[in-house]
């Protein structure tokens, strides 16, 4: 036979438990719109009867009420890690896409004013000079148009260079974002471990850590591994970024401007005395590295090819011509403004200042425009500057389109994953309301049990054995 008052304590345990459950429901409702919040559920467990039968045990087998065994955090870790992988890929691709969008802005084709049109004006200028070889105004206009083309090439190169530098600066700040997120994860790891060993709930801390992990995944494509003690290890490119309560730091090393990029490659290194190279294979950081190491240098190189083709083809033909009062063949029209050999988009400039020196005539002393006519035909050369520039623009278009489509698809995949994740871990208000009603009713019922036990005891204590009083 159990204790006389055991019914009271059973009802009391229910009152405690239902109230705790109501509190958790309240917490869920309160955080219905909190980013990263994971719904919680009170795990109830019936308190069993004395488990070990003893000689004098007279227990009749009824349980001792209910306890809260755990407040569990309802998040699917498999969905989480998939979500992180998709987000890492999405942020890599969208960073790549924005690189290409900015590159497209640099060239601003097709238009009536950009470099292709400037080149067109330049060739038309040669046509006009061929028509009026003696007219100095027409010659001066041609020189002006040559300068515009050279400026256009230089401006495009400067824009690429500026984009490179701004991406480089951005990469530094991304690296410090990674470091602060890694520190935060390490700190949270430590706290969670302590809470857990003290038997205290750490669900909200785990939510915060998940947010930080997502941030790390988006930045670096980091992967994670959970450990028994509740901590999470973070790996970047196979090396650990966070182990338990310890975080390592990343630094960006290498060139700070496009000009020195090829000799001093930009790299991520671990912030330690040995400074080993960290291979970051995903996320915004990897996209930034691609932009700095591959994409921008590639287009800067192609632009240099356009400049070199322009200077080469024009100068070669121009040298065959004669100026207005010269008996010697004309000199070079396009020169390296920095001095030295080789002409690139950065150094191209017009070397002739006197319009009379333009090599328009095919024979010395003649007022003849046939060399100018041949120069106008450079436009049509298959290996000329126009063709090189067209192939640059088209190549850029194809790459940009591909990047855009891949990013679109990946963003949709990531959004779907987010929906799945928030459906799994988010708060459903209908569900919470239903739970609230059932907890409330259970509380009321427990109170009723208490009342009836009380009434029972009242009968026993106050109204029993009154015979003869």
């Amino acid at each position: 036979m159990g204790s006389t008052f055991s019914g009271l304590s059973t009802a009391l345990s229910s009152l405690y438990t239902q109230r705790r459950a109501l509190d958790v429901t309240g917490q869920n409702v309160a955080n219905a719109n909190t980013e990263g919040y994971t719904r919680q559920r009170v795990e109830m467990q019936a308190t069993s009867a004395t488990p070990v039968p003893a000689v004098h045990s007279v227990h009749n087998g009824a349980g001792g009420g209910v306890t809260v065994s755990d407040v569990s955090r309802l998040r699917d870790s498999f969905l989480e890690s998939r979500g992180r992988a998709e987000h890492a890929q999405a942020s890599y691709l969208s960073a790549q896409q924005s690189t290409f969008t900015r590159l497209e802005n640099v060239f601003a084709e097709p238009s009536d004013t950009a470099l292709a049109a400037q080149l067109g004006d330049f060739w038309a200028g040669w046509g006009d000079v061929a028509n009026q070889p003696k007219n100095e105004a027409v010659r001066a206009q041609l020189l002006e148009r040559g300068a515009v083309v050279a400026d256009g090439l230089r401006v495009a190169h400067d824009a690429l260079s500026a984009q490179w530098s701004s991406t480089r600066v951005q990469l530094d700040s991304y690296a410090s974002d990674v470091n602060s997120a890694a520190d935060a994860v390490a700190l949270l790891n430590q706290t969670i471990m302590q809470q857990k060993s003290a038997g205290l709930p750490s669900n909200e801390l785990a939510d915060q850590r998940d947010l930080r992990l997502m941030e790390l995944a988006e930045l670096t494509g980091a992967t994670t591994a959970s450990r028994e003690d509740g901590t999470v290890d973070v790996y970047v490119g196979g090396s650990s970024l966070v182990t338990g309560g310890v975080a390592r730091h990343l630094v960006v090393t290498g060139a700070r401007q496009l000009a020195t990029e090829s000799s001093d490659k930009v790299q991520f290194r671990w912030d330690s005395p040995t400074g080993l190279v960290a291979s970051v294979s995903g996320g915004t950081l990897a996209a930034g590295l691609d932009t700095l190491g591959t994409t921008i240098p590639e287009y800067a190189g192609k632009l240099d090819q356009v400049a070199a083709a322009l200077a080469d083809k024009v100068n070669t033909q121009h040298r065959l011509g004669y100026g207005m009062d010269g008996v010697a063949p004309a000199g070079d029209l396009f020169v390296n403004t920095a001095g030295g050999a080789g002409i690139t988009a950065r150094t191209i400039g017009v070397g002739i200042t006197n319009p009379r020196q333009l090599g328009v005539s095919a024979s010395p002393g003649a007022v003849d425009g046939s060399n100018a006519d041949k120069l106008a035909d450079v436009m049509k050369l298959a290996d000329g500057p126009d063709a090189a520039y067209r192939s640059l623009v088209v190549g850029l278009g194809v790459s940009a389109q591909t990047a855009q489509r891949r990013a679109d698809i990946q963003l949709r995949v990531a959004a779907d994953m987010d929906t799945l994740r928030s459906a799994d871990a988010g708060v459903n208000l209908d569900e919470e309301m239903t739970n609230m009603i059932s907890f409330q009713r259970a509380y009321e019922a427990a109170a009723r049990v208490l009342t009836s036990v009380d009434e029972m005891l009242d009968v026993l204590i106050n109204r029993t054995g009154l015979v003869g009083r």
Partner: protein, 297 residues
């Protein structure tokens, strides 16, 4: 969309927000197209379209230049044509004067001297014609750097002997000048020498006029042949210019086909998109609102 067991207010909100965002994005794209009137505003809109667009633009420029070259060539050729026509008339007049001087056996030395003076005047005039200039360039001077093709004595000034041509189509060059000796003859049939000789013969030796007249006829025939040649070149350039202008129109049409939007279609698309967007907004407002809270007392 994957089948979900569980749906939460947040997941619905996220999905709806994403869909509305997509909708609005498409609206934005369509509006941009409509307001710019262009299908292609950046290479990634259509890489192949961009190639065509760049090529068409450069062709349009080239054709416009051909047209300008042809206009310039027409200027040269019409100047030549006018000059040669006047020259022919003048030479005919000399022919007439020479015949008069030759035939009128009764004519006095005084009247022949008067004829000789007129011939000399015409010669001066013809030298002037031979030095006709177009845009400051002597049209009979080829690529000479001098200001005139003939000196005041009617002697052709040898200089650089190149000819002047204009590019009026892909690989098509047309000569637009005529060298002085080609038009006015050389050696015995050099028009100015012949005229000089006629004037001399009229004054002193009327019997030599017969030979002079033969030479004059040869020079005249030559002038007429060249006049016909210039005329046919004029026609050719004129035709090529017409072709260039037509081609420019065709190219512009093609460029517009590649780059420009189909207005009715785009407006239709905008309308459809607008309807879809409004419908999405309306249903979202209805679907997102209710929850169990509304029905609990």
């Amino acid at each position: 969309m994957a089948i979900q067991v569980r749906v939460t207010q947040q997941s619905i909100a996220a999905r709806v927000t994403a869909s509305l965002q997509n909708n609005l994005n498409r609206m934005g794209d369509l509006q941009e197209r409509l307001s710019s009137g262009k299908m292609i505003t950046r290479p990634s809109d259509s890489p192949t379209g961009t190639v065509s667009s760049l090529q068409l633009r450069s062709e349009i420029r080239a054709v416009a230049q051909y047209s300008r070259n042809a206009d310039d060539g027409l200027g040269w050729l019409s100047t030549l044509d006018n000059t040669l026509t006047s020259s022919v008339a003048q030479v005919r007049r000399v022919q007439e004067l020479t015949l008069r001087g030759k035939n009128a056996g009764a004519s006095s030395p005084e009247s022949r001297a008067a004829l000789a003076t007129e011939v000399e005047n015409i010669r001066e005039e013809l030298i002037g014609l031979a030095n006709t200039r177009y845009l400051d360039r002597p049209v009979f001077g080829g690529t000479t750097s001098g200001a005139a093709a003939y000196d005041s004595n009617g002697v052709f000034r040898p200089g650089p002997t190149g000819s002047v041509s204009r590019t009026i189509g892909d690989g098509t060059k047309v000569r637009v000048d005529l060298a002085g000796p080609e038009a006015f003859g050389t050696g015995a049939t050099d028009l100015f020498a012949v005229l000089d000789s006629i004037a001399g013969s009229l004054r002193t030796n009327p019997t030599a006029l017969a030979g002079d007249l033969n030479n004059l006829n040869t020079a005249l025939e030559n002038l007429q042949t060249k006049l016909a040649d210039v005329g046919s070149r004029y026609n050719r350039v004129e035709q090529m210019r017409q072709t260039a202008d037509d081609r420019a129109l065709t190219l512009r049409g093609q460029l517009s086909e590649v780059e420009d939007i189909d207005l009715p279609q785009t407006i239709m698309e905008v309308q459809l998109q607008q309807t879809a967007y409004q419908a999405a907004l309306a249903t979202t407002a209805k679907v997102i609102q209710p929850s169990l809270i509304d029905f609990l007392r």
